[in-house]
């Protein structure tokens, strides 16, 4: 059993800066949990507190039913993959992977078996005698992974492990990490600011903002029902369109036109969210978009523009060959179930 429980954890730095304002999370055994948020939201701090690299001001962290607050990082039985990989530059790949085992007093012949096995898993067997400086970025990343898996810890902690790779390699490594984690079945916590990485990797997605949890759920839940304006803006690419509006007897009044309001929402001012892909062209549609730029992505195209007569920016993701030209005014429609309504005061979801 190696579930991880984070119970009302707080971090206050000297000088009274609250980095983490009371986070409670429950990560099941074997689950892949992704912490996502903009820089400065406290996601790395939280990870480092779980790892034991930062002290916990208040609350408790348990790994596999053991409260680890006062344990040294080494005693927590976790492995961490750092953003810059933190490979020991003066050791070979073998030395890097064997270091943790050596420190734990594993016999030499057993270390060799374990390192060889981990290296084979990651396709590193031929590089074991090389120094990190003689490896490419992707290979270094794999050595960092190898160092983590060789010890067979209770949990993997990843601190933005892909941000130093180029886009193509990032995609490939992302799949490899997911595949490896599923095969090993090791509980993992992964920190990233990249919402795409978060969506694709997570079993459980945790969106953090300003040291607090905004929303926890499966990626698809978070995507389909963002709990707040913050989550709505952060998850999804291109980002969700947001505009002020009002609900009255006629329905939902938007700057772009009046549409049918979703059932069960109170009357009054709201913040409306519409995902770009939920806007469909319809010449008699209730919404209007004056196109400024069209971005062709191949499979689809993004039409950027403003609502005529308003300063509201809007993006519509369009498929098909019939694309609007620059300067054209596009008629759009949206289904009521695809509308997201938020309280303009608190930013929380209204339905």
């Amino acid at each position: 059993m190696s579930n991880i429980q984070i119970n009302n954890v707080r971090k206050t730095y000297p000088g009274g800066i609250d980095a983490i304002r009371g986070i409670t999370l429950d990560i099941a055994d074997g689950e892949f949990c992704v912490l996502v948020g903009p820089s400065g939201c406290g996601k790395s701090t939280l990870l480092r507190m779980i790892a034991g690299l930062e002290t916990i001001t208040d609350g408790s962290v348990s790994i596999g039913d053991r409260v680890v607050n006062d344990l040294e990082p080494a005693e927590r039985d976790i492995a961490m993959v750092f953003q810059n990989y933190a490979l020991y530059p003066h050791m070979t790949v073998y030395g890097n992977m064997a270091y943790g085992l050596k420190n734990r007093g594993v016999p030499k012949d057993k270390i060799k078996v374990m390192v060889d096995e981990a290296a084979a898993t990651l396709g590193l067997s031929e590089f074991l005698t090389r120094k990190p400086a003689q490896l490419s970025g992707g290979q270094r990343q794999r050595v960092a992974m190898g160092r983590a898996i060789v010890r067979q810890p209770q949990a993997f902690l990843f601190d933005e492990p892909l941000s130093n790779l180029d886009a193509k390699l990032r995609l490939k490594t992302r799949v490899e990490i997911r595949d490896l984690q599923q095969r090993l079945g090791t509980t993992s916590i992964y920190v990233t600011h990249d919402q795409m990485e978060a969506m694709t990797l997570a079993d459980q997605l945790v969106v953090l903002n300003d040291g607090a949890v905004e929303q926890v759920g499966t990626p698809i839940d978070v995507y389909n029902r963002p709990a707040s304006v913050f989550v709505a803006e952060f998850i999804g690419s291109p980002p969700m369109n947001l505009m002020p509006g009002e609900i009255d007897e006629s329905g939902l009044v938007t700057p772009a036109g009046v549409v049918a309001a979703p059932a069960g929402v109170r009357h009054g001012a709201v913040t409306i969210g519409i995902r770009p892909e939920h806007l469909h062209p319809a010449s008699d549609g209730p919404l209007r978009l004056k196109v400024r730029v069209v971005e062709h992505l191949g499979a689809s195209a993004n039409a950027h523009g403003t609502v005529p007569g308003h300063a509201v920016e809007m993006i519509a993701s369009l498929t098909g060959a019939d694309l609007p030209a620059k300067g054209e005014t596009l008629g759009l429609t949206v289904a009521a179930e695809n509308l997201h309504l938020f309280d303009p005061e608190t930013g929380r979801r209204l339905h």
């Binding site: 034991g52 990082p73 080494a74 750092f82 933190a86 020991y88 003066h90 120094k131």
Partner: protein
């Protein structure tokens, strides 16, 4: 055509710019060095009335002279102690300073101050502290039951010049060690901590190996310092005494020339020291050029 004109117009400029350096090197290095080389093969009587060419005789006599061999041994043990202590203390201080986050600049600045003190002044300072008659440190030692007198006891005298020379050099070493430690990414020590290495093990297996280029550089610099720049310290405190106890090579050069008036022997000693410092510099340059490879 135009390029040629420009080149021509500025042809004197590079020479003019390096001229001061060349002049300084010529006057303060090349000329004295060549004089030393020249003098080392001559022998002059004490009144300067007669000068003879004696070939390598000065060198041969030096290596047959017990005093000179003793001075060599003294210098080597003195250098080893100065380099060892100043680097050891500096390293401990750098490790501690590396952990300080608040007010780090204040501590660092204070630790660097002693380097601004000239060796002779450092010597005088410690001489006052350890003066058997008026020195506070000597008084304190007396209170502890130790009869400190560096005028009588060769060991005391050696301790005094080691302390005075070390104290000043700690600052310099500290700067380099601190810079070296801070150049090691924090994530490396964190990774080692997760890998189950305690603070001491982390230092020995991660930080120290990564610091080895700095250590090597500082060994050379400190040995050069102990060999040559400590003249002021010795002169201000022990004057090479008692007896020959603290008569290190560079001090002996001066003493033999200006007190013993044995110019030929002194020049020969200078030449030997010159060869030593050239060798040390060559080793250092070669190592640095090879680039640090982990």
């Amino acid at each position: 055509m135009r390029t040629k004109t420009v080149t021509f117009r500025h042809k004197w400029l590079p020479y003019a710019l390096i001229a001061p350096q060349i002049v300084i090197t010529l006057i303060f290095f090349i000329w004295p060095a060549s004089q030393a080389l020249y003098q080392s093969v001559l022998r002059q009587d004490a009144f300067g009335l007669r000068t003879d060419f004696v070939g390598m005789a000065n060198f041969v006599r030096l290596f047959a002279d017990d005093n000179y061999i003793n001075s060599f041994v003294t210098t080597i043990s003195f250098s080893a102690m100065v380099a060892g202590f100043s680097m050891g203390i500096a390293l401990i201080m750098a490790i501690m300073a590396d952990r300080v986050i608040r007010r780090a600049m204040v501590y660092r600045t204070l630790l660097i101050w002693p380097y601004a003190v000239a060796p002779a002044v450092a010597g005088v300072l410690w001489w006052f502290l350890f003066n058997p008659t008026i020195g506070i440190a000597a008084y304190a030692l007396d209170g502890l039951g130790y009869d400190w007198n560096h005028y009588r006891d060769g060991g005391d005298a050696m301790t005094l010049i080691v302390v005075a020379s070390t104290w000043r050099q700690v600052s310099y070493n500290f700067l380099f060690f601190l810079a070296g430690l801070q150049a090691i990414p924090r994530s490396l020590t964190e990774a080692a901590a997760i890998d189950g290495a305690g603070p001491v093990k982390r230092f020995v297996t991660i930080q120290l190996p990564l610091l080895s280029p700095t250590v090597f550089f500082l060994i050379v610099v400190n040995v050069v310092y102990a060999f040559f720049e400590t003249f002021g310290v010795v002169h201000a405190t022990t004057s090479g005494g008692p007896g020959q106890a603290t008569n290190i090579l560079v001090y002996k050069v001066w003493r033999d020339a200006f007190e013993g008036l044995n110019l030929g022997s002194s020049a020969a000693q200078s030449v030997i020291l010159m060869v030593l410092v050239i060798a040390l510099t060559a080793i250092q340059f070669r190592y640095i050029e090879r680039k640090v490879e982990y």
